[in-house]
């Protein structure tokens, strides 16, 4: 058998190929590592936020219930609504404070401007909620325009 000598050109070519493969390999490895890290975060998040889809839909129904109560002013219904929210708060639902707060677009959605103190929430149309530390739904609010004689 004769030992075959590679000429420099061939070596060059092979070296380039090695470099290319190494970089491909690193790329894939990096993707994998990132993916792994994200999966870990995601796993925690998925468990924590598992209820968010259901809660979002449920909140729409609760809005109607609150509207009904604001009209009926029934003591019993008041208690029922209180019960529901106490249960939901055990699952991480926290109400976003809006009344007399300065308007904050991160947690509130301004749907109307109305006479009142400038940039302050004048009225809350529908309440907003956090689920743990994330904004599940921003509050819909009316914000003061500062035009009228605000006290």
């Amino acid at each position: 058998m004769v030992k075959k000598h590679l000429n420099t050109e061939e070596i060059e070519k092979l070296n380039l190929r090695i470099e290319e493969l190494e970089s491909d390999y690193r790329r894939v490895l990096a993707d994998y590592k990132n993916q792994e890290r994200r999966f870990k975060d995601q796993e925690i998040l998925v468990v924590k936020m598992a209820n968010s889809v259901l809660l979002e839909k449920l909140l729409l129904n609760l809005d109607s219930l609150i509207l009904a109560q604001s009209h009926l002013k029934d003591k019993g219904l008041e208690m029922v609504i209180g019960q529901i929210f106490s249960t939901l708060s055990q699952e991480g639902l926290v109400e976003i404070k809006t009344d007399n707060q300065p308007f904050d677009p991160v947690t509130m959605d301004c749907t109307e401007i109305t006479p009142g103190e400038k940039d302050m929430v004048v009225e809350t149309i529908s309440k907003g909620y956090y689920l743990f530390d994330k904004v599940l739904r921003p509050a819909k609010v009316k914000v003061g325009d500062g035009m009228e004689n605000s006290k």
Partner: protein, 628 residues
């Protein structure tokens, strides 16, 4: 080289994507959504949903649809038309270009777009965990050089090296994977939130050429929403006499409900809008309940959809292409989810549109793919193969036992322990199969080998480890190893994943066709195996502890086993007949076993039988169910 992100810088919404593990993925925004509104409040530096929420409060300082102003002269038609609808001030800037005036500051459209791109960059960095410096940004095919330049500048202001500006329809075609196909003509029908574009592309050897483009820059999903709102307001007025359009709060609720109804009617034929306590009349609360059918919605927006046809006609004429030459029609933009839109497109082009990619994400995904091509992420390695059919081996009774399931991404490897079927079996045959059918004979045989030299032992005792290892090139290595002696045998099968699409389809269809029949066959074999093992086990007990049984009991057991054996040997034995014999033999065996236990434990007599009896009851009950 770091990752290159793809950005769909849209008129109403924007999205970001990146190549990961060989496929393009949408990067979720900090708010956890896949797209974000292209809305900017430059003074407080708010972008996206946050900017949208304060838009009512701060309409003069909140900029939307800035894309319409990119690279436009102030005196131009587009600028003037935007000026009419925009609550913010548009003025004439340097070089008579359109600029935006807020308080006493002026912003170029590039600066505003840069804010959107900055958010895209920040979201991507949070997702990827690294800094992002390079991007591919998409623009409409009709953008001229100055508009493209402006887009590029916006990227630079945002701190991004714009590696390429790509046409939106081209990006969409990439996302649909059309670059790998044949040379053909593709129509991209893009009906978004605020604009409609149609483009005719010519694909050849991986090169995309935009032959013609047309559209309506003031037609989109928002117009559809308005129609529904108008309808709801009109219906409510008819019914109650109250004009909800005067009540801002009610109008807001109707707006949300209209959008929800529009989305629901893409999948349902009818939806109900329920908004209790929407308003009051004479101190009495009024509720809004309204059913909207899909047909009604289609009637409401028929002319809007019709308006997309004229541009399509013009584009075809400009490209000088006959409808019959169109190879593919792809849909982009959220509004194309509407079945009526799809139907109209199909009727006009005479071709079923392709809607396999999420229409909101297609453009960003395509931009990411283009980025991947530039960075070298996208090469042949992108085409990670999957096994098209299940791979497995034949086990007792001619059953196919899968090891590597269909659609497993290769390379992959899997091991499982098997054993012998009869006592003192000296060798096992490993028969490798491919296919979805439960019986070995119905699948494709890929090869087989024999592992011999197994030490004499009872059936089920030897441990034989069978390993399937399939590499990235589809080469399958199968090995079998006797754990006791470490003796090993192996075989290499080339092209295990290499089947033509037709072959795969045929095999999958067969599997479906014969599903019921196959299930029966497998059940029969399982029953046979069950009977077999009962015979062998019982015989073992008889030979080990035969003296404990009386001669009469022994004979009775032997007889029932004999009967079962004859039944198994019959060529026309069925699941039911075997099951009947098997049950009989089991009963006999149980009866004598019970007697044996009773005799053995005089003291525990009552407890034993108590514990034993209910158990046999449940056993027979379960079997009864299986037969049914």
């Amino acid at each position: 080289m770091s990752k290159i992100i793809g950005i769909d810088l849209g008129t109403t919404n924007s999205a970001v994507a990146v190549m990961e593990g060989g496929t393009a993925k949408i990067i979720p925004t900090a708010e956890g959504r896949n797209t974000f509104p292209s809305i900017v409040e430059p003074i407080k530096n708010l972008v996206g949903d946050v900017a949208k929420r304060q838009m009512v409060l701060n309409s003069q300082n909140t900029i939307f649809s800035v894309k319409r102003l990119m690279g436009q002269k102030f005196s131009g038609k587009q600028s003037q038309k935007t000026k009419e609808i925009a609550p913010y001030e548009i003025a004439e800037g340097a070089g008579s270009m359109a600029v935006i005036k807020i308080a006493d500051k002026t912003y170029t459209p590039q600066e505003i777009s840069a804010k959107i791109l900055q958010k895209a960059k920040a979201d991507a960095e949070a997702y990827l965990g690294t800094t992002v410096t390079d991007a591919v940004i998409t623009v409409p095919a009709y953008f001229d050089d100055s508009q493209r330049q402006a887009t590029k500048q916006a990227g630079e202001i945002a701190g991004l090296n714009v590696q390429r500006i790509v046409n939106e329809p081209t990006a969409a075609a990439l996302a649909y994977g059309l670059d790998k196909g044949k040379n053909e003509t593709v129509v991209v029908y893009d009906l978004g939130g605020g604009t409609f574009d149609v483009s005719i592309l010519e694909l050849g050897d991986g090169v995309f050429e935009v032959k013609a483009t047309n559209g309506d820059t003031f037609l989109g999903g928002d117009d559809f929403d308005h129609r529904i709102i108008e309808y709801i307001v009109a219906e409510f007025k008819k019914e109650s006499g109250v004009d909800l359009s005067l009540d801002k709060q009610a109008l807001q609720r109707i707006k949300d409900a209209a959008e929800k109804a529009k989305i629901e009617l893409s999948s349902a034929m009818e939806t109900e809008i329920n908004q209790p306590f929407i308003t009051q009349r004479d101190g009495q609360p009024l509720h809004l309940t309204l059913k909207i059918t899909r047909a009604k919605l289609e009637e409401l927006v028929a002319d809007l959809i019709e308006r997309t046809i004229e541009p399509c006609k013009k584009a075809l004429a400009d490209a000088k292409i006959e409808k019959s030459h169109i190879g593919e029609v792809i849909l982009v933009g959220g509004m194309t989810r509407m079945p009526k839109v799809q139907q109209v497109v199909k009727e006009f082009f005479g071709k079923e549109p392709n809607k396999s990619v999420n229409p909101d994400e297609a453009v960003a995904l395509g931009a990411a793919i283009q980025g991947g091509v530039i960075s070298g992420d996208v090469k042949d390695i992108l085409l990670l193969d999957v096994t098209p059919l299940t791979l497995g081996i034949e086990t007792m009774g001619g059953v196919m036992t899968p090891l590597i399931e269909r659609n497993t991404t290769v390379p992959s490897s899997k091991s499982q322990i098997f054993s012998t079927a009869s006592d003192n079996q000296p060798q096992v045959e490993v028969h490798i199969l491919q296919g979805e059918r439960p019986m070995a004979a119905d699948n494709k045989s890929l090869g087989s080998f024999i592992l011999d030299g197994i030490m004499p032992a009872h059936r089920g005792v030897p441990q034989i480890e069978v390993t399937f290892d399939i590499d990235a090139n589809g080469i399958l290595n199968v090995s079998a190893k006797d754990k006791a002696t470490n003796k090993e045998q192996k075989i290499t099968i080339k092209n295990a994943t290499n089947l033509s699409d037709d072959e795969v389809e045929k095999m999958k269809q067969e599997a479906q066709k014969y599903e019921a029949e196959d299930k029966k066959k497998k059940e029969l074999v399982d029953k046979r195996n069950e009977a077999d093992s009962l015979i062998i086990q019982t015989r073992k007990v008889l030979s080990d502890a035969g003296d404990k049984f009386g001669a009469e009991s022994k004979k009775e057991i032997e007889d029932s086993l004999g009967e079962l054996e004859t039944e198994l040997k019959k060529s026309d034995s069925t699941f039911e007949s075997i099951d009947a014999s098997l049950k009989k033999a089991t009963e006999v065996m149980q009866k004598h076993a019970e007697a044996l236990y009773k005799a053995a434990g005089e003291k525990d007599k009552t407890e034993e039988s108590k514990a034993e009896e209910p158990k046999t009851d449940t056993d027979s009950a379960e079997e009864g169910e299986v037969v049914k």
